[in-house]
Symmetry: C2
């Protein structure tokens, strides 16, 4: 049997039907907070490609926004946030996410109602470390200097921000499950920016705390962890956090991951998204190589990172066909 | 015995004496091509901190520049290059580096003359893949879309660019050795952007070809490879390329690298450069952790990436003191 397939950022700018809804919605956050439109764009790639899972259309910065942080998405720029740089800035944030994320849960409920019964609904959030980097840097960053300096110089102060995010993200994900999410993914997109000691404290420990709470509240919901760029530290991440599956970025050797992880964890990944832009034989061969390596054990086919805007939708259709047509060879592995 | 120590980008903007020379030189490339001034800045961190090695002050973009590519370093921006996007663009480049890099070799000779005999002189170049990304993207990039698309869609065409870089980089490094370089480092800063299949063809294969030529021309010169972001693929890189030492970025688990690599390869690294900005106890503890992990086998103390401009020079002095004062504990490992 071929593995299930969905793609990170499968709902997005590469789809003309998404761009039409986006124009109607106004800003990007307006779209996230409009349950009718957000549900519509969540469902678009299911309708078009028949993926095995839908992932809630939303953003990892909903949690800081719900905590009272000023978050803006200006056209042509990355996100911009009012920076949180010291303990006093943390005190100014709300105690919890309150009702502000309610439209997100409404979106989840609408998608759950509309989805075919054999299509999974994936909820998600950013992992505390990654969300913290956006809050501290005030946006994206190349070197994460402000975040690291805070974490290195005042670990107890930075811990308060992380603790706040663990609590808020737990509330946020549990509410997504209550609304109908069947699987959860934690995006730790900047895990690879952490040195080993920081990885333990700022990636693994908060993720473990979050997973523990989720496993108590909703033990039946599988959790996919995505510690992007963590390389060989993924084994420690998988063993220590309690996630059920590990999403591999494209730079991770799939063969290595099979040996290091697949006996215990489902592996998700890890085609380079640029192959979806290239299309043709290059894409088919690369996708088949991923399948031949990861597909003999528990696997979810995905990319190593999100679909990029310049992706031709017909390449996505061809990829789905390649994956659906793949069969494991003989009895190897 | 404590390991030898030098730091990537140890000569640079964080030093007031560097900033004074830089002002006299004019542009950044003017400084690289001025043997008197480039030798002076190469020696500055040796004079100030007594590092065990000096690394030639230069840039990985000297090779494309010597090949006739227009390269500019505008203040406040990354480098900008005239993009090489197709086979015809390759044809327009020079056949070899010609005399244009001669001032670089003159710098090496001057530094070799001036250095204390117990201080090693390290020459360097960018690895072909990394230099190619700058040439194809026309500068730095977040997703390397143009480079990957070329490599994926027209691998034979892209191979010509890589082959040209292998040849030119070989000439360039052999000339550095002839001028007095005693060790060579290959910076593959964007190795981590490659998926597994591309890593084999575009990082490992050209590096292997380059190392083979260097080992024929100057077998006594140790080669340090720095496949930044390669994670678990570093083992394959080390085994397949023929390098003598592997430089670890900060995201690599040092403990993993000890088990995977240190029996056969000297390991260099891998303190997070932001610890040098933080200073104090955080830096000392982190440096000691690196030493305690890597220091029981063949090791060169270094950072996981270059010194950042906001680094206080007194923190560097304190780091050197920490490393020089470290002793391996008992007979463990």
């Amino acid at each position: 049997m071929p593995p299930p397939i969905w793609l990170m950022r499968q709902a997005g700018r590469y789809l003309p039907e998404y761009r039409r809804v986006r124009e109607r919605a106004g800003g990007f956050l307006d779209l996230c907070y409009d349950p009718a439109l957000a549900a519509e764009v969540t469902l678009q790639p299911i309708t078009r490609f028949g993926f095995d899972a839908a992932i809630l259309f939303s953003d990892i910065l909903i949690v800081p926004h719900a905590l009272g942080c000023d978050v803006r998405f200006d056209e042509g720029h990355g996100p911009r946030l009012e920076p949180v740089r010291e303990r006093a800035d943390i005190e100014r944030l709300s105690d919890g996410i309150g009702d502000r994320a309610a439209p997100i849960f409404e979106t989840v409920a609408r998608v759950a109602d509309a989805l075919p019964s054999d299509t999974a609904l994936i909820g998600f959030a950013g992992a505390p470390w990654t969300v913290a980097t956006y809050m501290v840097e005030g946006g994206t960053s190349r070197d994460f200097a402000a975040t690291k300096l805070w974490a290195f110089n005042d670990p107890d102060g930075f811990q308060r921000l992380i603790d706040k995010l663990v609590a808020a993200t737990g509330d946020y994900l549990i509410a997504q499950v209550a609304a109908g999410a069947e699987v959860l993914q934690l995006f730790d997109s900047w895990a690879g920016a952490l040195p080993e000691s920081g990885f333990e404290r700022w990636c693994i420990a908060p993720t473990r705390a979050l997973v523990k709470r989720l496993k108590t509240a909703c033990p039946e919901v599988p959790i996919i962890g995505f510690p992007r760029g963590a390389g060989p530290m993924m084994t420690r991440y998988a063993a220590a956090t309690g996630v059920d599956a590990v999403s591999l970025d494209s730079a991770v050797s799939a063969a290595w991951a099979v040996d290091a992880l697949q006996a215990q964890w489902t592996l998700q990944g890890n085609l380079d998204p640029l192959y979806l832009v290239a299309g043709g034989r290059a894409m088919t061969e690369a996708a088949t190589a991923v399948l031949d390596t990861l597909g003999h054990g528990p696997m979810i086919f995905n990319l190593g990172h999100g679909v990029v805007p310049q992706t031709p939708p017909e390449h996505v259709a061809a990829l789905v066909e390649t994956v659906r047509g793949w069969r494991p060879a003989g009895a190897s592995r």
